[in-house]
Amino acid sequence: MWLTRPFRERSTLLFLGILLAALAMVTLLNLALPAGHPLHVSTYTVTLLGKYLSYALLAVAVDLVWGYLGILSLGHGAFFALGGYAMGMYLMRQIGDRGTYGDPILPDFMVFLDWDSLPWYWQGFDMAWFAFLMVLLAPGLLALVFGYLAFRSRVTGVYLSIITQALTFALMLAFFRNEMGFGGNNGLTDFRELLGFDLRSDATRLGLFLATGIALALGYVLCRAIVASKLGRVSVATRDAEARTRFLGYRVERFQLFVFVVSAMLAGVAGALYVPQVGIINPGEFSPIFSIEIVLWVALGGRATLYGAVIGAILVNYAKTVFTGVMPDAWLFALGGMFVLVTVLLPKGIAGLLGYRLKRKAAAPSTTTGEASA
């Protein structure tokens, strides 16, 4: 089975082991220790870590298309935000008549705008299964249509990057409009509960953190399975010599489309897990800067390794939390500085450093990958 292949890889088992151990440890330190204990992990920190994990899943999705397919998407924030909005719409409908205006069906901002009925695209979002399906379908469909048009016309390289940037920018402008029906610049917020669990309770927050961690593990395994399959090797071949791959008889644009859509759906899931933890989704997530930042996480962590993307996302966002707390004005300089330093000193990112150590330890085994993929 191609899906179980990653479980035979040492690096994947190591990654999963570390991730699950970290999840267990945080849970233990949060639940078992009293609030005053120096090692106690507060619920605030748990939620913060959950946010990092959802970013890590987003970074893995970007690394799949950028690292292995050579498509530098500067618009993955759009898929992340669409997944987030799908989740946000479900959470809005769950508020029911507990909103400020007490309307049993209409969310607050619609009452405020004097709308008398729910727009057609808000229908169905009161049902969890439908909303969760939309978390996958909304980004997936956008990626399918966008990718179909782009790859069929053989738009690649820097042109594709620019178009993805335009895509997310256009969506940001659209979502800023009140008439769109997604809450305008305020976005969606004031969430109460998810699947009946109170979003403000500590237990729910811990649960969301764990769910995000498990989603990251599953997403990682899925990406590894794709990368380790023959399709992954076709992707790498496409990345390095597209015309040659086409000449071998592979319909390159279909492979690009497939991987792009899978990646967009993963980004959507990441967005859906992000929103209940931060408690708001607004058009800011569509901003072009955010999409570029994701690429920076991946570049810092190390492209085309997947685990590098996870390391990069967590590290950069941790640094961001620290910096914006200590000296908010310096954050962008610090980010720029980090990026310059890593590109100059560590061209393969932080993962390049780790990979080098691992390779030296286990010199030969890496040369048997061809057989191991049987």
Binding site: S229, D240, A241, G249, F255, E371
Partner: protein, 281 residues
């Protein structure tokens, strides 16, 4: 335009409409047959009433000065260029002029271009795996497994091209000559009937040239592949060719064994009138 084409590309949509692939019929001897083929670009006749027959299992060298039409001839056989008139047959059953490039490729005509292009980040083994004739749609590719049969075929080709030792090294570390062999190996993975090889030894060392000569002569044979080599290097042609065809201004000037051809006064004249052994060799 390409959109209209994709709409009319029905055999991709409905599998049952796909034409049955019939085997190449070589009972009458020739595997490739070009008759009275003419191509002109803006009035310039690149190929002028060209007649050429390649027998099944034959190794044929094609030589000729620049602009003699060697590359154009390859383009016509692979379907890249359409001739103005004439006919091109593969075996005695397949009219190549009625087919497009992918169809011709799937019929078993492989072409190696001058500049080697291999996937440098992938290993030699993986390069061959990707080149293998297989179901190349998305899901079959995603779930593809390395069966014993596939592995055997790859190992077989690895032995043929002499890269067994390097099979798990990335193709990027190969020398220029080794890349050329890998590329020939990638063609072999598709089990071609006819190999068109464009200047295989350009930029190779003496030893690499010898090794390539062995490889190409080993490939050709009854029931194996037929090989057509276009080459400038006369020493190399002399070392492999049983039959040589000299092209000049788009048509065949002379054809025969190398020593016969190089004594032909017309060939001598084409190569600037000098003593052929001096000028050509």
């Amino acid at each position: 335009m390409s959109f209209l084409q994709s709409l009319s590309d029905r055999d991709r949509v409905f599998d049952f409409l796909a034409p049955q692939r019939s085997p190449v019929d070589v009972r009458h001897g020739p595997i490739l047959y070009l008759e009275d083929v003419t191509v002109s670009f803006d009035g310039f006749k690149a190929i002028d009433r060209l007649n050429l027959t390649i027998d099944d299992g034959e190794l044929r060298c094609i030589i000729g000065p620049n602009g003699a039409g060697k590359t154009t001839m390859m383009d016509i056989i692979t379907g890249k260029t359409r001739p103005d008139c004439g006919s091109v047959w593969f075996g005695s059953r397949h009219d190549l002029l009625a087919m497009n490039e992918p169809q011709i490729a799937s019929l078993g005509i492989g072409r190696k271009f001058q500049k080697p292009t291999v996937f440098e980040a992938l290993t030699v083994f993986e390069n061959l795996e990707l080149a293998m004739a297989a179901d190349k749609r998305i899901l079959p590719t995603l779930t593809a497994r390395l069966t014993g049969e596939v592995r055997e075929r790859i190992e077989e080709v690895l032995v043929t091209i002499g890269l067994t030792e390097l099979r798990h090294r990335p193709a990027g570390i190969l020398s220029h000559g080794q890349k050329q062999w890998l590329e020939i190996g990638m063609l072999l993975m598709q089990r071609p009937r006819l190999l068109l090889v464009d200047e295989p030894v350009a930029g190779m060392t003496e030893q690499e040239m010898e090794r390539t000569a062995e490889l190409l002569t080993g490939l050709a044979g009854k029931g194996k592949q037929s090989v057509v080599v276009v080459e400038h290097d006369m020493g190399f042609v002399r070392s492999i060719a049983r039959t040589v065809t000299v092209l000049h201004q788009g048509s065949v000037l002379a054809e025969g064994r190398m020593d016969q051809v190089s004594r032909d006064p017309r060939v001598v004249e084409v190569y600037l009138g000098a003593d052929p052994d001096e000028e050509v060799a």
